[in-house]
């Protein structure tokens, strides 16, 4: 293994609570704890997969890191090109603007994330206009380059988004994200709104862009099978918290958290003859407005014990690079891909 790269982004105990207001006077009656104490880091030129069920706070986490929401608490340390570290969580939107060139997002829904009234040229070129990078012919040229890079025909730059298919629209979104040569991309479920056949195309595109441009990416998905090929490391989220974070291999083959085990078991094997035994989780995802006491996963956990109902586990590095938030991480024998059990 080569020497670990420098850390580009470090999130420490990030919290994002949304107040619940009710009644005539719109008094705060509680909070939706969408992100509740998230800590992780991303190294340069690394892809971190962020996985979890819908409603677990993945998207909120991504948007909070880009300061589309103002975080309730926590720190987001971003390292600039010159080595300067900035805590994004506390700077103003004005100070944030230059950083928006370096940190970009790919949106989930290619249908609602493109303004229907603007041509592809205007959409892809907009970041360049906002940051005064290019105008006029130069802009057109840059847009043509970007369209080629994502596999679109530059002849179509005067067209409107509704004239494109879902996969093409997502390519437009990716071109827009790449337009300012960002250092960090947060891809928020970029393929989950697409057909499976198109998903592969877009994933391959992202994969090759990652290789060619050395992109650093946080890849959000609700499905391990989507991130397993593109990610270097995978973080698993459950109800606003991280339950497990490790290299892709370790997460897939040697999961240490019962929730990860269930997710891994849901990856369909490529061979139809293999017996596919999926662990079905009982019950519903708890509401982030009213999370259960103790370990958030205990009501659905097959291995839950008394301790889990009372005491909240913390994220502990049980092996190098392998963080798990479970009281019994070292004791349980969990199944990875192909039924590999941890010794």
């Amino acid at each position: 293994m080569t020497e670990p790269k420098k850390i580009l982004l470090e999130v420490k105990d990030l919290k994002q609570y949304f107040p619940i207001r009710r009644g005539t006077f719109r008094r705060e009656k509680g909070y939706v704890k969408a992100v509740d104490g998230l800590s992780f880091f991303v190294r340069e030129e690394e892809v971190l997969g962020l996985v979890g069920e819908s409603g677990c706070g993945k998207t909120t986490a991504g948007r909070t890191i880009l300061r589309l929401y103002d975080p309730t608490a926590g720190e987001i340390w971003y390292t600039r090109q010159d080595g300067q570290r900035i805590n994004i969580a506390t700077i103003s939107q004005k100070e944030m603007k230059p950083l928006r060139r370096e940190m970009r997002m790919i949106f989930q829904d290619p249908f609602s994330s493109l303004n229907p009234r603007r041509t592809v040229k205007e959409i892809i070129g907009e970041p360049l206009v906002i940051h005064n990078v290019a105008r006029g012919r130069e802009l057109e040229e840059r847009v043509a380059e970007l369209m080629k890079a994502v596999g679109l025909d530059p002849n179509y730059m005067e067209r409107y988004p509704h004239e494109f298919s879902g996969g093409q629209r997502q390519r437009i979104g990716i071109a827009r994200t790449l337009s300012l040569s960002p250092r960090l991309i947060i891809a928020d479920e970029p393929v989950s709104a697409l057909d499976v056949s198109i998903q592969a195309q877009v994933l391959n595109l992202l994969q090759s862009l990652k290789m060619d441009l050395g992109l650093t990416m946080i890849f959000i998905a609700h499905d391990l099978s989507v991130v397993e090929h593109i990610s270097d490391r995978i973080a698993v989220m459950y109800v606003g918290k991280l339950v497990e974070l490790s290299t892709t291999e370790a997460v897939l083959y040697h999961p240490r958290h019962p929730y990860t085990e269930a997710l891994v078991s849901a990856i369909p094997p490529a061979d139809p003859d293999i017996h596919f035994s999926r662990i079905r989780l009982e019950g519903e995802v708890p509401s982030p407005a009213n999370p259960p006491a103790g370990c958030v996963f205990h009501p659905r956990c097959r291995y839950a014990q008394e301790r889990c109902r009372v005491l909240e586990p913390t994220l502990v590095e049980i092996e190098p690079e392998h963080f798990v938030s479970c009281h019994f991480a070292t004791e349980l024998h969990l199944r990875g891909i192909g039924g590999n059990n941890v010794a």
Binding site: N155, P161, H162
Partner: protein
């Protein structure tokens, strides 16, 4: 390769000629017959109003007491003896008193006056610029042609209707323009920022809406000093109509923007670092345009009606300015109307204008959003 060589040539990119927004709208609009009819009506009224002097054979403001309340001239092709003439002609009306001492208008069939086209008549300035005497139609002196009759002062009603169209249409357009400008900007801002500003603005909208419109119009119109000149009165009246009609649009636009505010493309714009102004005017406002166009075409007829109403009551436009409502004032007493039914003719233009704009709005509503997959 020179500097001038365009990018397209350099890269051999054949950028396809793309249809503009208005082309797309037009293509869809064209398919609706009702909308085309509405558009033609509106266009015809506008032409009549703009070139009103050309369409009126007599000066519409000059008094001519002797021919007061002349009935509309009848257009004939055959004379009393049954002789057919290849071209239209009119007889003069004359008043006779019957055995019961009632006055009657009868046609003097002694002389016939052919209707001539593109004739020389009273002098006016074409579009206010070039002096000319050309008129669409007329008859030789001493004959007269009043295709819709005359009013109390002997003025040609058709000519006056065309002239009145200038004020009526211009006022409704001007009022609608102010109304849409105020309504859409406040609507977008209110919807986008939300919070306290939105709350206050919406309560203000309710306040304005809860006024009974008619008494408020009357009160405001009554406040305009009679010493003001015509232009000032015109602007003041337009503003009054505008300030009472913007609320509907503001509400609707606010609703649309609130729905759009949370969509991903607005979030994407914020993620790029776009300013609030850019998001509002570059992203949100164009998406409310189709709605604005429709409300615009519905506000115009409502202002035409309101203006006619106020002028009819005598608190709107005052003579010597003439609008359709002002002309209707003469038809206020049953007696006058009973004897001279033709003075109600301006109603025709009001009806046509309201219908025309409504049809147009109907067609535009379907056509104004060409970016949806249908």
């Amino acid at each position: 390769m020179t500097e001038q060589t365009s990018l397209r040539e350099q890269r051999q990119i054949q950028l396809e000629e793309h249809e503009s927004y208005f082309n797309l709208v037009w293509r869809k609009f064209r398919k609706s017959r009702v909308a085309i009819a509405g558009g033609l009506i509106v266009l015809a009224l506008a032409v009549l109003a703009i070139f009103s002097s050309f369409f009126s054979p007599y000066d519409p403001v000059k008094l001519n007491m002797r021919s007061g309340y002349t009935p509309p001239s009848r257009i004939h092709f055959t004379d009393v003896n049954g002789t057919f003439y290849g071209r239209p002609f009119v007889y003069q009306w004359k008043q006779v008193v019957d055995e019961n001492m009632y006055m009657h208008w009868v046609e003097d069939t002694g002389t016939l006056y052919f209707v001539n086209f593109f004739v020389q008549g009273w002098e006016y300035k074409w579009l206010g610029l070039f002096p000319t005497r050309l008129h669409l139609y007329g008859v030789a002196e001493p004959g007269t042609i009043y295709i819709l009759g005359t009013d109390k002062f002997g003025r040609d009603i058709f000519g006056r209707m065309c002239l009145a169209g200038r004020i009526s249409l211009a006022m409704s357009l001007f009022g609608t323009f102010i109304s849409v400008a105020v309504g859409s900007v406040l609507g977008v801002v209110s919807g986008y920022y939300g919070g306290r500003f939105d709350n206050y603005l919406q309560r203000f909208v309710e306040f304005v809406q809860s006024f009974p419109q008619l008494p408020l119009w009357m009160a405001l119109a009554a406040v305009i000093p009679s010493t003001w000149d015509q232009m000032a009165v015109f602007i003041a009246m337009s503003t009054i109509f505008a300030l009472l009609s913007w609320t509907l649009l503001a509400r609707e636009i606010r609703g649309k923007v609130m729905a759009m505010r949370e969509t991903d493309f607005v979030l994407a714009a914020r993620e790029m670092g776009a300013s609030d102004m850019r998001i509002i005017f570059y992203h949100l406002y164009p998406n409310t345009l189709s709605h604005t166009i429709v409300v615009l075409t519905l506000t115009i007829p409502s202002i035409i009606l309101a203006e006619s109403f106020l002028s009819f009551l005598g608190i709107g436009i005052q003579e010597p300015l003439v609008s359709w409502g002002v002309m209707m004032r003469e038809a206020q007493t049953i007696q006058t109307l009973g004897f001279n039914q033709w003075i109600i003719a301006p109603v025709l233009f009001i009806l046509l204008a309201v219908l025309g704009f409504n049809f147009l709005g109907d067609g535009l509503r379907d056509a104004a959003d060409p970016y949806t997959i249908t």
